[in-house]
């Protein structure tokens, strides 16, 4: 839940106000899309929601935790425990194979490598990569790499998954496949999925679409069974 989020970059005359009192909600069991033109503040918004960037003003509560009260080390722990990230460029470690890449959040949490990779292989299995676990990223297609990234985001069963343009580096068919898998595997009654995207071909996977413009949410659409509901203001927070 974000209320009145303010964020500016730069100093003096070079100061740019990126977020202007932005409100945003993501609900468990839903896939929320955050869409808008380039430079409207989407990346800054998900960086703040993802506890990577701090805001200048406003109230941000994630899973009941006031993120503004957490310091750097605690923020990192909070991210590790509660967030899964899927990046546009996948950001897999090139020297590690698929299983090792997917196991990183578990290893970072202190699980043994063997146990972590075993769990990671199960996740890769769910994503249809059971025969690719030993391959390094360079040996995988873009779609397969993104599926490994999805496995890495989900392997530690986070409460919130943040996807930054997950289909931007993929062709249309791979993008659709990745989103289908994301819907199947990531969606959970206790998990909120936030997707930042420009790709209107995947809008059908959204439960809600928050449109952002000039540093604020301009409207939120609710999509149910391909029907469209629209409102001009953010909905009431529920999680």
């Amino acid at each position: 839940m974000c209320r009145g989020i303010e964020k500016s970059f730069g100093e003096g005359q070079a100061r740019v106000r990126v977020l202007r009192g932005t409100d945003f909600d993501a609900r468990a069991g839903e896939m929320t899309f955050l869409v808008g033109p380039s430079g409207c503040g989407k990346t800054t918004m998900i960086s703040i929601i993802g506890a990577i960037l701090s805001c200048d003003d406003g109230d941000i509560r994630v899973l009941g935790q006031d993120l503004r009260r957490l310091r750097n080390g605690r923020l990192a722990d909070f991210r590790l425990d509660n967030f899964g990230f899927i990046f546009q460029q996948f950001n897999l470690l090139p020297a590690l194979n698929a299983a090792e890449n997917a196991a990183i959040p578990l290893v970072a949490r202190g699980l043994s490598t063997r146990k972590a990779e075993s769990i990671a292989r199960e996740m890769l299995d769910k994503l249809g990569l059971d025969d690719q676990t030993q391959k390094i990223p360079a040996q995988l297609s873009g779609g397969q790499q993104q599926r490994v990234a999805i496995a890495r985001a989900l392997v530690h069963n986070p409460k919130i998954v943040i996807c930054d343009e997950p289909t931007a580096s993929l062709d249309a068919a791979s993008g659709q496949r990745v989103m289908e898998l994301l819907s199947e595997v990531a969606m959970d009654a206790e998990r909120a999925v936030i997707v930042v995207t420009h790709d209107d071909r995947i809008f059908r996977f959204a439960d809600r679409i928050a449109h952002m413009d000039d540093g604020a949410i301009s409207r939120v659409e609710r999509r149910k069974s391909d029907s469209l509901e629209s409102s001009d203001s953010p909905e009431e927070p529920s999680s």
Partner: protein, 379 residues
């Protein structure tokens, strides 16, 4: 995460090889040069080391090194013998001579003349012949390196004749004397014969070597000798250090070796620093992703240190191995005799290698620590 860090490093074989080469090259260069330097300093005191039975050296007050003596009067020997605490004292003549073989080969040699009666001062290790053989007419003993210098390819033997200052000398023994600083060929003979070979002038007594009596401490006896005779008297260990310090303070050798060592360190820092920095820069996005995922700075720092440590251990091990191979393969080379890898040098270079790697990775670590995890969202 350490395994992940090592997999990241090992996965980039080109840079890994570059990093290891940098550390190994520095280790090899520094270790080898410092070892040779230490060996050279050892040669500066090799004659003192070989005279094991004496613990006091007496000389003209102006003398500062074993390699440059100023002759004393022969009567000084009696005065030293008369000092309380001196068990015995014998003369030692030291000079440089030119030696010529019958085949016409000419070499420089360090000649040491020991007391005619006792032959004290001759090293104990004889490969051929006996110490008593030095009592024979025109008898000299030489070191193996010197023999091979004079008679290349010949097996060590005795009975060969040499020409010293128009006089005949006959090799009666081969003894294992350490190579001297001034020449690889060392000749031991009787004091009277040595002075005859070199024809030095009125005063011929280079050094007096003495032994402190039971119950007397050598430094105290040396002070006593100085006080009573006006000569310079020091213990063997003090003279050894003084001779080494003379080389360090009065020759360009330390500067020359020091320059190579500094260059080795700089090259190491440059190679390792640039390669490691490149490695970090290429993986910066991945480090940012790890940070975004929730990996803490301290963990990333330890991962980077783990990579640096791995490079340091492998590089240092290979460099040290190369040094060992070098000294092993040259152990039969007379010119390099006395040069070997000292444990102190290996330990010191290990510390230096750690410093090189730490210094090299400092900048890269800073990049890892300050990388903004939000960059992963910026395409």
């Amino acid at each position: 995460m350490y395994r992940t860090a090592l997999r990241m490093l090992i996965g980039d074989k080109t840079k890994l090889l570059g990093l290891i080469f940098g550390v190994a090259f520095s280790t090899l260069l520094i270790c080898q040069q410092v070892s040779i330097f230490a060996g050279l300093l050892g040669r500066a005191s090799s004659v003192i080391n070989d005279v094991r039975s004496a613990d006091i050296w007496v000389m003209d007050p102006s003398v500062r090194t074993i390699d440059a003596s100023y002759p004393m009067r022969d009567t000084e020997l009696s005065r030293v013998r008369g000092v309380e605490g001196v068990a015995w004292a014998v003369p030692l003549f030291k000079s440089q001579v030119q030696v010529r073989t019958r085949e016409g080969r000419l070499e420089n040699a360090v000649m040491l003349g020991v007391d005619d009666a006792s032959l004290i001062g001759v090293p104990n290790e004889f490969l051929l012949g006996r110490v008593e053989d030095l009592a024979l007419p025109d008898a000299i003993a030489i070191n193996p390196a010197g023999f091979r210098l004079l008679f290349p390819g010949a097996e060590l033997d005795v009975g060969r004749e040499l020409e010293l200052n128009d006089r005949r000398a006959r090799i009666v023994a081969i003894l294992d004397a350490a190579p001297a600083f001034a020449a690889n060929l060392t000749i031991y003979t009787r004091y009277s014969l040595a002075t005859a070979y070199t024809n030095p002038g009125r005063n011929v007594l280079s050094f007096i070597i003495a032994k402190s009596a039971d119950g007397y401490e050598s430094n105290a006896v040396a002070e006593n000798i100085s006080a009573r005779t006006g000569l310079k008297a020091v213990s063997s260990s003090a003279f050894r250090i003084e001779s080494i310090m003379y080389i360090i303070e009065n020759t360009g050798i330390p500067v020359s070796f020091g320059t190579v060592v500094i260059l080795g360190a700089i090259i190491g820092v440059a190679i390792v620093g640039l390669t490691f920095n490149q490695f970090i820069m290429e993986n910066l996005k991945q480090y940012a992703a790890l940070k975004a995922i929730g990996v803490k700075n301290i963990r990333l720092l330890s991962m980077t240190l783990c990579q640096a440590g791995f490079v340091c251990v492998i590089g240092y091990g290979l460099g040290l191995g190369a040094v060992v191979i070098f000294f092993r393969s040259t152990s039969d080379v007379d010119a390099l005799r006395g040069f070997y890898l000292l444990p102190e040098v290996a330990g010191g270079v290990a510390v230096l290698a750690i410093l090189i790697v730490l210094l090299s990775t400092l900048l890269s670590m800073r990049r890892v620590l300050t990388v903004d995890p939000a960059t992963v969202f910026r395409g």
